[in-house]
C-alpha cells in the first residue's frame, strides 16, 4: 500500500495528464450538452440564445426520419460488424495454416485497412458505377446478371453495398487480432480434443473460440462503436441517398449543424448518438465481465 506522501505524489504526477484529458474531452462534452438545451444557431452576427430545455430532444425523438435513421444505423452496425467478425475470423483461421506464401499473404491482408476511408469509398463507388463499373462487368461476364444495373442508386441494395465496402475495409483489423490470438492456442489442447473425438468444427467452437474470445471481444467493441457513428464512408459513397436509404444517425448531426445551421439541435443529436454508443459499450462490458469470470459453455 502506498504511504500518504506517495499517494499525493502519485496524484501530482498524474495531474498534468488528467488536466489535458479533461480539457479535450470534458470541456467539449459539457459545452455540447449545454448547447443541446438551447436554440443556438450558427451565425456570423450576434444573435440572442434561449434555453429551451428538452425541446430539441423531443423534436429529435419524435421525428420519424430520425427514428428510421436509428434503425438503419442499428442495421448497419449489426450487419457490418457481424460480417467483419465472421470474415475476419475465417481469414485468420486460414492464415494460421501453414502454406506456401503464407507470410506474403499475411502482409497483404492489411492493405484494405491501411487505405484511407475516403479513398476506399471512392474506389468502391467506381466499382459500383452503373454504366462502366467493375462489379457490373464481372457479374455480367459470369452470367449472373443479364443487364448492367444500379447498385448504390437503388434503395433496396444501396445500404448493403455500402456495408460491403465498409466490411472490406475493416475486416483485416479483426483478422489480425484473431490471428495473433489463434497463435497463442496451445497445440496440446487441440490434440487432446482431437483424440477425444472432436472434429474440426467442434474443436473450433469449444476450444479455439473461447480461447480467442477475450481479444476478439475488444476489437468487436471498437468496431461497434465506430460503426454506430459511421459517417464518412456514407457521405462519400451516397450522401445519405438514394431516398435517404443510407442516411444514418450521424448524418442528422451533420445536417443540423452545417446544412441548417442549428447548432443547438445538432448538439442534441450528437448527445443522443453518443448516449446510445455508451449503452452499447456498457452492454459489451457486462458480457465481457461475465466471459472473463464464469465463461459460457
Amino acid at each position: 500500500m502506498l504511504g500518504r506522501r506517495q499517494k499525493q505524489e502519485k496524484w501530482m504526477l498524474l495531474a498534468p495528464a488528467m488536466f489535458v484529458l479533461a480539457l479535450i474531452t470534458l470541456v467539449p462534452l459539457a459545452n455540447t450538452l449545454w448547447l443541446s438545451f438551447t436554440d443556438t444557431r450558427i451565425t456570423a452576427i450576434a444573435t440572442p440564445v434561449h434555453f429551451i430545455g428538452l425541446e430539441n430532444y423531443v423534436y429529435a425523438l419524435t421525428d420519424p426520419d430520425f427514428q428510421a435513421a436509428l434503425y438503419r444505423t442499428l442495421y448497419f452496425t449489426i450487419v457490418s460488424v457481424g460480417l467483419e467478425g465472421v470474415l475476419g475470423i475465417a481469414v485468420a483461421v486460414l492464415l494460421n495454416q501453414p502454406f506456401r506464401g503464407q507470410l506474403v499473404l499475411r502482409a497483404l491482408i492489411i492493405l484494405p485497412w491501411a487505405v484511407p476511408t475516403i479513398v476506399n469509398a471512392v474506389a468502391w463507388r467506381l466499382i459500383y458505377q452503373p454504366d462502366y463499373g467493375a462489379l457490373n462487368s464481372l457479374l455480367y461476364q459470369l452470367g449472373l446478371i443479364s443487364d448492367y444495373r444500379s447498385w448504390i442508386g437503388d434503395p433496396s441494395t444501396a445500404m448493403n453495398m455500402v456495408i460491403l465496402a465498409d466490411v472490406w475495409k475493416n475486416f483485416p483489423l479483426v483478422a489480425y487480432v484473431a490471428l495473433a490470438a489463434l497463435q497463442t492456442v496451445p497445440g496440446d489442447l487441440l490434440k487432446a480434443a482431437a483424440i477425444e473425438g472432436a472434429g474440426p468444427w467442434k474443436r473450433f467452437r469449444s476450444i479455439t473460440l473461447p480461447w480467442i474470445a477475450g481479444p476478439l471481444l475488444v476489437v468487436m467493441v471498437l468496431r461497434t462503436i465506430e460503426a454506430f457513428r459511421v459517417f464518412d464512408i456514407i457521405y462519400v459513397m451516397t450522401s445519405g441517398g438514394p431516398a435517404d436509404s443510407t442516411k444514418t444517425a450521424s448524418f442528422f448531426i451533420y445536417q443540423e449543424y452545417f446544412n441548417y445551421l442549428r447548432s443547438g439541435s445538432g448538439a442534441s443529436y450528437a448527445v443522443l448518438v453518443a448516449g446510445i454508443s455508451a449503452v452499447l459499450i456498457l452492454a459489451y462490458y457486462s458480457v465481457a465481465k461475465r466471459q472473463a469470470a464464469g465463461g459460457t459453455a
Binding site: 436554440d39 444557431r41 450558427i42 451565425t43 456570423a44 452576427i45 423534436y59 426520419d65 452503373p130 454504366d131 444500379s150 448504390i152 442508386g153 437503388d154 434503395p155 450522401s239 445519405g240 441517398g241 438514394p242 431516398a243 435517404d244 445536417q255 452545417f258 446544412n259 441548417y260 445551421l261 442549428r262 439541435s265
Partner: protein
C-alpha cells in the same frame, strides 16, 4: 551636421515608406466551384490578369465541388482573419447567409447605373430584403440540348416547343431504335434534381409556396413530378439518371447515348469540342420547352454571385477583385462557358460568335428565369423535397403521398 541629420532622416523615411508598401502586399483567399460554368483554367487566367493590373495583391484560389461550397463558406465564417475574402455563392443562399450575417452588405459599393445594365434575374442572385450581398457573376440556367443527327434520323425537323411534344419525339426516337433511352437527367438526390423540378414547375405555372404555406402538393409542381415519373415509367428516361449529376449527363450525352438533355450553359462548348465529345458538331441548344396554355419556355434561375464574407479583413481589395471579374470586358472574353450578366453583351460579336443558337436561347430563357424559394431555411426545404421526389422516382411512393409527406415535414421546420 545638418546635412547628416537630413540624410539620416531621409533614409529613415524612405525605409518606412518601402516597408509600408511591402506591408500593403495582400493575399486574398478566394473560393470557387470546380465544375460547370467557368473552368478552373478560365478563372486562373482572369485572376492572373487582375494580379498584373493590381501589383501588391495576390489571390490564392481554391476550387471545390458545388456540393461542398455551402459548408465551406459556413465553416470558414469561424476562421476569423484566416477565412475567405471572396466566395462564390449560389442564388439559393442569400436569404440564409444574410439572416446569419455571413456576407457583407455591398449595396453601397455598386454603382447605381449597373441596376439597369444587368439582367433582373441576375440581381435576384445577390438580393435579400432590398439589400445586395455581392455582385452577380455567373448568369446561368438550364437549356434543352439535342442531338441533331438522332433527330434527323427519326424524321424530326424541329426541336420540341412543349414538354408534351418532347415526350412524343422521344417516343419516336425510341421506337425507331436509335437510342435506348432518349432522355437523360441529373436526378440524384441532390440540388441538381431540384433544378430540373423547378424548370418543370415553372413550365407548368406551379408554385412552391403560397403565402408562406407549401403549395407544391397540387397544380404545376405536382404536374412536374408526375411528368418526371411518367418519362421513367415509359422507358424514355435513362433510369441511371436517378444517380446522375450534371457531369454524368454531359458524359452520356457526349457519348451519343441520349437524344435530349437538360444542362447548364457550360455543356454547349464542351459537347461541341471534339476532344471532349463524340457528338461534336451535332449539338444544338434551345430554351427548355413550355406547356401549352401556360408557358412558351421554362428555365430555372441557376445563377451565382461573388460576395465578401463578413469576417474578411481585406474588404477593399476583395471588392476590387470582384469588380474586375464581373466587368463586362472580362465577361465578354470568357463567354463560352458562362454567359455575361450584362444586357449589352448579348449583341457583342465576340460573345455571339460560334454559339448563335445558345445566345438566341439565352435571350428567351433568361427572361423567364424562375427562382427557387427565397427563404432562409431553403436548404432544409430542398432536402425534404429531394428525398420525397426521389422516392417517387424510385417507385417507393406515389406522387400525392410523397408531396403530402414533404409538405407536412416542411411545416415542421423550426
Amino acid at each position: 551636421m545638418k546635412a547628416i541629420k537630413k540624410l539620416v532622416l531621409g533614409s529613415a523615411l524612405a525605409t518606412l515608406a518601402m516597408a509600408s508598401t511591402a506591408l500593403a502586399d495582400t493575399t486574398l483567399n478566394a473560393l470557387f466551384m470546380s465544375q460547370a460554368a467557368y473552368s478552373e483554367d478560365d478563372i486562373k487566367s482572369m485572376t492572373a490578369q487582375f494580379e498584373a493590373a493590381n501589383p501588391g495583391v495576390k489571390v490564392s484560389l481554391e476550387f471545390v465541388p458545388y456540393e461542398a461550397l455551402h459548408d465551406k463558406i459556413i465553416a470558414a465564417a469561424g476562421a476569423g482573419d484566416d477565412g475567405y475574402d471572396v466566395v462564390l455563392f449560389d442564388v439559393i443562399w442569400p436569404a440564409e447567409f444574410a439572416t446569419g450575417g455571413f456576407l457583407t452588405d455591398v449595396s453601397d459599393r455598386i454603382p447605381a447605373a449597373y441596376t439597369d445594365e444587368v439582367f433582373e434575374g441576375a440581381w435576384t442572385t445577390v438580393e435579400y430584403e432590398g439589400k445586395r450581398y455581392g455582385m452577380p457573376w455567373i448568369l446561368d440556367t438550364k437549356y434543352l440540348f439535342y442531338n441533331t443527327e438522332i433527330l434527323a434520323e427519326a424524321g424530326i425537323s424541329e426541336p420540341p416547343k412543349t414538354w408534351t411534344e418532347l415526350m412524343t419525339q422521344a417516343r419516336q426516337i425510341k421506337e425507331k431504335g436509335l437510342v435506348e433511352y432518349p432522355l437523360v437527367w441529373s436526378w440524384s438526390q441532390s440540388e441538381a434534381m431540384i433544378c430540373d423540378f423547378t424548370t418543370l414547375t415553372a413550365a407548368n405555372d406551379g408554385k412552391f409556396f403560397d403565402a408562406g404555406e407549401p403549395a407544391f402538393t397540387t397544380g404545376g409542381a405536382k404536374d412536374a413530378v408526375t411528368f418526371m415519373k411518367a418519362t421513367l415509367d415509359e422507358g424514355l428516361t435513362n433510369p441511371a439518371s436517378r444517380e446522375y449529376f450534371e457531369e454524368d449527363v454531359r458524359r452520356v450525352f457526349s457519348n451519343g447515348e441520349a437524344a435530349f438533355a437538360l444542362n447548364w450553359t457550360y455543356m454547349n462548348a464542351l459537347a461541341n469540342d471534339p476532344k471532349e465529345s463524340k457528338v461534336a458538331g451535332k449539338v444544338k441548344v434551345v430554351s427548355a420547352p413550355g406547356v401549352e396554355g401556360k408557358s412558351t419556355a421554362s428555365s430555372v434561375n441557376g445563377s451565382m454571385g461573388l460576395g465578401i464574407p463578413a469576417n474578411s479583413p481585406h474588404a477593399d481589395e476583395a471588392w476590387a477583385y470582384i469588380s474586375f471579374l464581373t466587368q463586362k470586358d472580362i465577361q465578354d472574353d470568357y463567354a463560352k462557358l458562362s454567359l455575361p450578366i450584362w444586357k449589352a453583351s448579348y449583341s457583342e460579336p465576340k460573345v455571339m460568335e460560334g454559339q448563335e443558337d445558345l445566345i438566341a436561347a439565352a435571350k428567351e430563357s433568361i427572361a423567364v428565369m424562375y427562382p427557387r424559394p427565397l427563404v432562409p431555411s431553403y436548404t432544409e426545404v430542398s432536402d425534404i423535397l429531394q428525398k420525397n421526389i426521389h422516392q417517387v422516382l424510385l417507385d417507393q411512393a406515389g406522387v400525392d403521398e410523397a408531396l403530402e409527406a414533404a409538405a407536412e415535414r416542411v411545416k415542421r421546420i423550426r
